[in-house]
Symmetry: D2
Subunit: 344 residues, 4 copies
């Protein structure tokens, strides 16, 4: 099986991660890359300032970049990944879904829309069925699926595992890498020898997206979980890898062994990019660390450590690679699920 895929907005940092991950992918063949109008017509090599730490694949360098317009994308593309700026995505993604394309998008727009599934395959893959409602309501032939924000993805697989004990309250403090803001998002003057204790909109995303992801789909709509998440988000001088300090309070008392058991039971899917296990637990309290552990499982695993019982709930740290599991890899995995579930 080979599925022809394209990338909307493929020259930026997340776009380059898509290309790294698609290079040699077992099921997907990259056949189209779009970008802004001034890049259209150039070779990808020329249009993108390649910045990741493996050389640009030759076959990608030669691809001619297209306009981000349904007319410009060949008909035999079955699946589109989107890493467009959210303002652009808001306007452009519906044009593609109207034209019949299935879009797996990392852009932050429309994530909380009632008829848009927000999916982490190992957590709530069944929310994909919301696409029937979406197609009905919007009259689309195509479909739009979103993955959550990078800081949300890092934590929610662990919360889903703990929800068997009745998740009630979560405090989470994040130490987020600069790549999460995009290539130009954080200047060096801002972050060398410094921390920025604020990331616009991030805390709200963690609080609301978590509730939707952990919610249940009744065939018509998503019933959001009532967990109360309180997030404090910080930017720190790391390149990749979001580390998060979590306290989770549950209805039933749990100890660290209960948590280990729950994490070990987290599902592993039979999809090309799905890690096994989903959650890797470290016993050394000084792990996971961003630089040493962000590429576990090809950057798709959730690393957990520092498990402790406290009077304020189960305390632990979790870590994931923010531009792989938290962005391009998230959309890719959603794409793999869309194929398996017959939407592509």
């Amino acid at each position: 099986m080979s599925v022809n895929v394209g990338i909307l907005g493929g020259t930026g940092a997340v776009g380059q991660r898509f290309i790294q991950l698609l290079d040699g992918h077992s099921d997907f063949e990259l056949v189209a890359i779009t970008a802004s109008d001034d890049s259209a017509g150039k070779s990808y090599r020329e249009a993108a300032k390649w910045r990741v730490d493996s050389p640009i694949p030759d076959w990608v360098g030669d691809i001619e970049v297209r306009e981000t317009d349904p007319q410009a994308v060949p008909d035999d593309v079955d699946l589109l990944f989107s890493s467009l700026p959210s303002g652009v995505a808001e306007v452009v993604e519906p044009r593609f879904t109207e034209a019949g394309y299935v879009v797996s998008s990392n852009s932050s727009n429309s994530r909380m829309a009632d008829d848009v599934p927000l999916v982490i395959p190992e957590v709530n893959g069944e929310h994909l069925d919301l696409l029937e409602v979406q197609q009905d309501e919007r009259g689309w032939d195509g479909a739009l699926v979103k993955n959550p924000n990078c800081s949300t993805i890092t934590m929610v697989p662990t919360l889903a595992a703990l929800d068997r004990f009745g998740l009630e309250t979560v405090h989470v403090s994040t130490l987020q890498a600069v790549s999460g803001a995009g290539y130009d998002g954080v200047t060096s003057m801002e972050i060398i020898d410094n921390v920025i204790p604020h990331i616009g909109g991030e805390e709200l995303k963690m609080e609301t997206e978590s509730r939707k992801l952990l919610g249940s789909f009744d065939g018509t709509e998503i019933d959001h979980h009532d967990v109360n998440v309180s997030a404090s988000c910080n930017r720190v001088p790391t390149l990749d890898g979001h580390l998060e300090n979590v306290w989770a309070e549950t209805r039933k008392d749990i100890d660290t062994d209960d948590a280990r058991g729950a994490f070990a039971d987290a599902p592993t899917l039979d999809l090309p990019s799905a890690p096994d296990p989903l959650i890797e637990v470290f016993e050394n309290p000084d792990r996971p660390q961003p630089r040493l552990d962000r590429t576990l499982g090809g950057g798709m695993q959730i690393a957990v450590g520092g498990l402790q019982n406290t009077p304020s709930g189960l305390q632990y740290n979790c870590l994931a690679h923010n531009t792989i599991r938290g962005a391009a890899g998230a959309s890719l995995l959603n794409g793999e699920l869309l194929v398996r579930e017959g939407w592509v």
Copy 2:
């Protein structure tokens, strides 16, 4: 008034901060510096590898370093500051207090001992009276006062202010600078492009020291506060300045204006090194930041920002300079209080 002071263990990172802060001090005159035996007899300039970012004061460079022994310290020294390694301090500090010296110590040993006052002057200066019990029980002519750990000091002045609303539960996540581990404590290979989500013993210090500091002294002993503090401590790639994300839950409902009022009411003391105000509140949510705000009030102020109401309590960030307010400046301020209260 001029008080002759000395430093026990004055060649290390905290010792150098003591010297910076004593240079030009209105009331204290530095007359003696001790260090390990292999430094004794050398000039301070020769013994210390001066590493702070202002030149070594000439008059200090010429001081001859002494052995860390009561015999080696001149009799006219009225007050000693200690930045000895805690293992050494455990053995040596009692020798000085037995010999009649008053010691204001930053070392971590004995902080939780029943008869040792653990003091932040603006928070619990009245705990100094415990020294009468100490002298009685130990038969000392001198006295030993401790200041808390740097991460504790950063947070507790804000907690003390909020306790008027009945402090019950605190979650705190720290982003601590490398200087907190001493000059050689964190290697560059460990921390460049990285975070270490564990600092040995630090979480327990924050939890237990906070209870003692916020406790009340009944004339005989300290009744520790029953607040439940749960800390998650991280080392980040900053040089100086501990930033902390706090959630404080109180018996009475409070909003951010209540908190602003409480912070504004925090006491300011009439001591040379006491900042005014004690707590500076920023309204821009991306402040305070370690690099930009750690030297507020000469490094003695507590900076607060990001005030929010959440269902999980009052959320905010606080920041202090860990080797000034959190170490050398803390001991110095305790020394100033000891003088004012007649113990020196």
Copy 3:
């Protein structure tokens, strides 16, 4: 004596340094700040995102920002400092000089123009007399003086001192701080755990500006020095302070003591911002270091170290604070010289 001064383009990183340096200046009173049109009319506090590590002076925060236009600047301003982007400066600075203003500019345009003095007061203050030629040729009532590029300023005072031995060839490799590129010039993704071995145009600036600075003025024009400078410029992850590795070959053989003597003889001027001595020589081979030594002499000193004789010439390192001695402080010192020499 008090001279009313203004800043053209005062909201950026160099503009903020101007304000830090003018706060409390003995001779200059800041009375006007201009910026781009969308800032005009706002208070400085509102228009500038204040980013330096001392609080914004209150009296400056209240100044109303003006348009960068001669009409908008009050007549009683005697001297203007310019930190405009060079493209803007190219157009705007002549409008001010035509209108009679004396402009001491840090912008890179016109530095190599035949009738524009490029000045480091301790090196070639006599080049100011070129202003007579400038006013004649251009018909200006005002005058335009430039200071060189930050990487040039760091090195040229040492070269000027060594020129008594007949400077012939210079190899210089720079390790430049990110602030040299402006607040947004280097992204964190580019420089964390990295070096960028290229700074556009920088090598040529060092090579040509050095020749002009070391040249002689014959009353009509500057005769450029024939020293052959070959520069290799690198951006490194430091915030402030350009460090440079220099090899200087001279006609006469010199040893390190000759060099020490020459550096000690470097002139110190009787101007408010002039450091004394101009050049500070370190004997410890691991100094100067950017973080520890960049603020020597208020950031106006040139620190030198690592002096060695080699078969390829005298080898040494030099360091200066790139946004003080290398930018705002450079223009300020030129302004002080302009006043002393009667041009203001």
Copy 4:
């Protein structure tokens, strides 16, 4: 073919790189690891604090660490790699060579000894024949081969290529990563927001080792090249990858195309760890960069960029991974050459 190999001093940073590189090696099977006495008897997993960014191979974790003593190493080990501290190596390596072992060592001792070949296979593999002299003179059954210092290796392959034009004078300024000093070699307090313009002994190593490497072997001794190398060495805040600014002056005039040709002609060996090409030339002047390009060719390639003609010679930058091509990979490649040349 499979050769049994061991590592002397295998628990440190370079030892861990050896293990990464030997994991899956086509010709070598790792069968023994030695370390200091207090590690002997432990499993490798227990003895080594594993710090590289790929998980410890399981089969290595279970190896029992041995004493660094010929008696403790099994007889069927054919080749030993050494990453012992040089003081230890000075004493211990001869015990192994006397006992008949062939040792390929990265330790800095004895590199300049007359009868010890200092080898980069692509540069001076023929120097291996000096081992006959060594065995004769020392009465060893075994043999000792050294690779040069990491900063030397980065540059010398480019100098060897240019020597066809008659290499006369080299100026080189280095920007070296912290890993070059070993895991604990540079503290975070020393290097965050800083550069250290001095690395003890490094400049001399670059100057003398280069001459030996570029020298010729006449069957009896090495005739050192008479090139005059002048080095200025700096430590910068990068984790891995030494970047070097080079100016090379040659007897014959050369332009950048001549240099490109010479670099393209650099030999590529048919050895498992030898890169092809040896030297990769970048045309974009801002490359190579340490973080982006240090893993080229598995970390064994020399990256070159910024080629320019200057009046002071050919100017360019070169980069290599200091703990792969500059340390463990260098010894490994020497080991592969020793096998091919029949010494093992």
